[in-house]
C-alpha cells in the first residue's frame, strides 16, 4: 500500500528497508516449505553411510541411484522384497476407475440438483454434502463386513467402491455449485427445441464443463492417491496402495534403517500428485477453495 507522505526522504528510505525485510521474510518461508522436499531429494541420492555419518542438508559427495532402484524394485516391504513397483501399479488400478466413476456420477448429480429440481432436493443435497465431512472411522467396521458380503474384501474393486462412495459428496458439490451459475434459460430453450434430459446435459452443459471436470478430477486423484486409512483397513497384497506400502517400508522394524531408500520411496509416492500440482496448480487451488468455501 503506497503511503501518501513518500516524498519525505527518510520515509522513502524506510520504505526501501521495509521492502527488503518483506522479501527476506517471504524468502525464509520459501526455504521452510522447500526444506523437507530438499531433504528427501538430496538424501535419496546418498549412500547410507553418508546420511548416518554426515549432514542431512549437505549435497551428496558420491551420487548414487541405488536407493531409487532399491525403493522401486527390490526393497523389503512386508515380507516380500518387491520394492514399491507393484503397489504403485495397485494405486493406479484403484485411482483411475474410482476417479472416473465418481466424477461422472458427480456431474450427473450436480445437473439434476440444479436444473431438474424436485421437491426435497435441498434436503438431498444437504445430506450428500454432510457426507463429505464424516470421520471415516465411523464406517470402517460396517464397511469391512459389507466388502466381505460382496466378495470384495481385500481387492482393488473393493477399494474402488469405497473411494467412489466417499468421493461422491465432493464431486456432487463441485458440479452442483458450478451448474448453479449456468444460465437456466439455455436449458429451457433447448427443451423447447425438443431436447430431452440427456440431450440437454450432453449438448448444453457438458461442453462448457471443462474447468470443473479438471478441478474435480484433480481433487479426486489427489485425495484417493493420498488415502491411507482405507488402504490400510481394506487392502491385501494384491491391492495395497502406494501410501500403505511406503509406510510399511519406512516403519518395518527389522534390519538396518535405510533412510536413503525411504526418502526415494517417499518421493516416488509423492511424484504423481506433485506432477499434477505443477502442471495444473491453478485448478488444484480452485478445488481446495471449492471444497472449503462453498460457491
Amino acid at each position: 500500500m503506497s503511503q501518501s507522505n513518500s516524498s519525505n526522504p527518510t520515509a522513502a528510505n524506510r520504505r526501501v528497508w521495509l521492502r527488503a525485510l518483506l522479501y527476506a521474510v517471504l524468502l525464509v518461508f520459501v526455504v521452510y516449505y522447500l526444506l523437507p522436499l530438499y531433504v528427501m531429494l538430496v538424501n535419496s541420492f546418498k549412500p547410507l553411510e553418508e546420511i548416518r555419518g554426515g549432514n542431512m542438508l549437505a549435497l551428496p559427495h558420491i551420487w548414487t541411484f541405488e536407493p531409487w532402484k532399491a525403493a522401486w524394485s527390490s526393497a523389503q516391504i512386508g515380507v516380500q522384497p518387491t520394492g514399491l513397483k507393484p503397489y504403485f501399479i495397485n494405486s493406479i488400478m484403484m485411482v483411475v476407475p474410482a476417479v472416473t466413476l465418481s466424477t461422472l456420477l458427480g456431474a450427473v448429480n450436480g445437473y439434476v440438483l440444479t436444473k431438474w429440481q424436485f421437491p426435497g432436493h435441498g434436503l438431498v443435497f444437504a445430506m450428500i454434502l454432510l457426507a463429505c465431512f464424516i470421520p471415516f472411522q465411523i464406517v470402517l467396521i460396517p464397511m469391512a463386513r459389507v466388502l466381505g458380503i460382496l466378495g470384495l474384501a481385500g481387492s482393488t474393486p473393493g477399494l474402488v467402491l469405497v473411494h467412489l462412495v466417499y468421493g461422491l459428496g465432493f464431486t456432487t458439490l463441485f458440479f452442483r455449485n458450478y451448474y448453479a451459475a449456468f444460465p437456466t434459460e439455455l436449458v429451457r430453450a433447448a427443451q423447447m427445441d425438443g431436447a430431452n434430459f440427456f440431450q440437454v446435459f450432453w449438448r448444453i452443459l457438458l461442453p462448457s464443463s471443462g474447468p470443473i471436470i479438471v478441478v474435480t478430477v484433480i481433487w479426486q486423484f489427489t485425495n484417493i492417491w493420498n488415502d491411507f486409512l482405507f488402504g490400510a483397513s481394506f487392502a491385501d497384497f494384491d491391492s495395497i496402495p502406494m501410501t500403505v506400502a511406503l509406510n510399511n517400508l519406512v516403519n518395518s522394524s527389522t534390519g538396518v534403517k535405510e533412510y536413503n531408500v525411504h526418502f526415494a520411496g517417499a518421493v516416488l509416492a509423492a511424484l504423481p500428485t506433485l506432477i499434477v500440482y505443477v502442471v495444473s496448480g491453478r485448478y488444484f487451488v480452485r478445488g481446495l477453495m471449492a471444497g472449503a468455501v462453498k460457491g
Binding site: 531433504v39 465411523i138 459389507v146 493420498n226
Partner: protein, 291 residues
C-alpha cells in the same frame, strides 16, 4: 407415458448415488451407533449393554490421553495455521514481484500424502541423523532437539509437520479474501491518514471474518480426522504419547478386539465433527437460499 418417464428421469438418475450415500454413510453411522451400545468384541455382536462401552471409554487412560492430545494438537494446529496463513497472505498482498513463483511453493505440501510428509519430518526431526545432528555438525554441539523421542513433547512434532502441510492452504484462502476487499475502502482509510498496519488491523482483518470461519471449520475437521500423519510420524508413540481419537479407535477395534469401545470412540468423533460442521452447512445453505 413418455412424459411421465421424463418427469421421473432426473430422480431415477440421482437415485443410485443417493442410495449409496444413504446406505454407506447414514446406514453405516446407524450400524456403528448400534455397535457402540453392544457387547461386540472381536466381531460385531448384537447383545445390548446400554452405555457400558461409553463408561468404559471415558474411564480409559488411553482415551483421556487421546482427547488431551487432540485438544493440544487441534488448538495449536488451528491457531498457528491461521496466524501464519494470514501473516503470509498479507505479506504476499503487497504487490510482490515473483508472487507467482512464491505462492505455489507455499501451497505444494497440500498436494502430498500425510504419509510422505510424516516420513520426511520423521527423519528430519530424528536426533540421530536430522536437525540435532546437523547443528552438531555445524559446531553447535550443545543443541538439543529430541522432541520426537520425548513423551512430553512428541505431540508438538505432529503440530510442526501438520502446520507445514496445511498453512499454505490457509494462506491461499486469506489471499483470496484479501483480493476481494474493495480498494475504495482502503483508499478512504488512507485519505484519513491511517497507517498501513492500522488499516489492516482495524479495517481489513475484521472484514476477513468469513475466511476465519471457513478456515476454522476446515482445520478443525482435519484435526479431528488426523490419522495418517501420526501413524507415519510417530506411530502413536513414543509409548502412547501421541495417541489421538482416530488412532485409538483403530487400535481398540482392530488389534485389541474391543469393537464396542472402538465404535463408541468413532461416535464421539462424529459428534465432535458434526457439532462444528452441521451449523456451518446449515448457515451456508440458508444464506445461499436468501441471495
Amino acid at each position: 407415458m413418455k412424459s411421465h418417464l421424463q418427469a421421473w428421469l432426473p430422480r431415477i438418475v440421482l437415485a443410485p448415488s443417493f442410495l449409496l450415500i444413504l446406505l454407506f454413510v447414514y446406514g453405516f453411522i446407524a450400524y456403528t451407533g448400534y455397535l457402540s451400545f453392544s457387547d461386540s468384541r472381536m466381531l460385531p455382536s448384537y447383545g445390548l449393554v446400554g452405555f457400558a462401552n461409553y463408561e468404559r471409554l471415558f474411564g480409559l487412560r488411553h482415551w483421556k490421553t487421546a482427547l488431551n492430545n487432540l485438544w493440544v494438537f487441534g488448538l495449536l494446529y488451528i491457531g498457528v495455521c491461521t496466524v501464519l496463513g494470514l501473516f503470509l497472505a498479507i505479506l504476499l498482498d503487497q504487490k510482490i514481484r515473483g508472487e507467482g513463483f512464491i505462492r505455489p511453493i507455499y501451497l505444494y505440501p497440500m498436494a502430498l500424502s500425510f504419509i510422505v510428509t510424516g516420513t520426511a519430518w520423521k527423519w528430519f526431526l530424528d536426533p540421530g541423523i536430522g536437525l540435532e545432528s546437523i547443528m552438531h555438525n555445524w559446531g553447535w554441539t550443545s543443541f538439543d532437539f529430541d522432541w520426537i523421542k520425548n513423551r512430553n513433547y512428541a505431540i508438538y512434532t505432529v503440530v510442526i509437520a501438520a502446520v507445514w502441510q496445511s498453512s499454505g492452504f490457509v494462506m491461499a484462502m486469506f489471499l483470496a479474501g484479501l483480493r476481494g476487499v474493495d480498494s475504495e475502502i482502503i483508499k478512504a482509510a488512507q485519505i484519513d491518514g491511517a497507517q498501513s498496519w492500522r488499516i489492516y488491523w482495524r479495517v481489513i482483518i475484521p472484514m476477513m471474518r468469513p475466511v476465519f470461519l471457513s478456515s476454522f471449520v476446515v482445520l478443525a475437521h482435519l484435526a479431528i480426522k488426523a490419522y495418517d500423519l501420526v501413524i507415519a510420524l510417530t506411530g502413536g508413540g513414543p509409548g502412547r504419547a501421541t495417541e489421538l481419537p482416530s488412532t485409538f479407535m483403530y487400535s481398540y477395534t482392530f488389534t485389541r478386539n474391543q469393537m464396542g469401545v472402538g465404535a463408541s470412540a468413532a461416535i464421539i468423533m462424529l459428534i465432535m465433527i458434526f457439532s462444528i460442521i452441521v451449523p456451518y452447512i446449515y448457515s451456508e445453505l440458508r444464506s445461499e437460499k436468501r441471495s
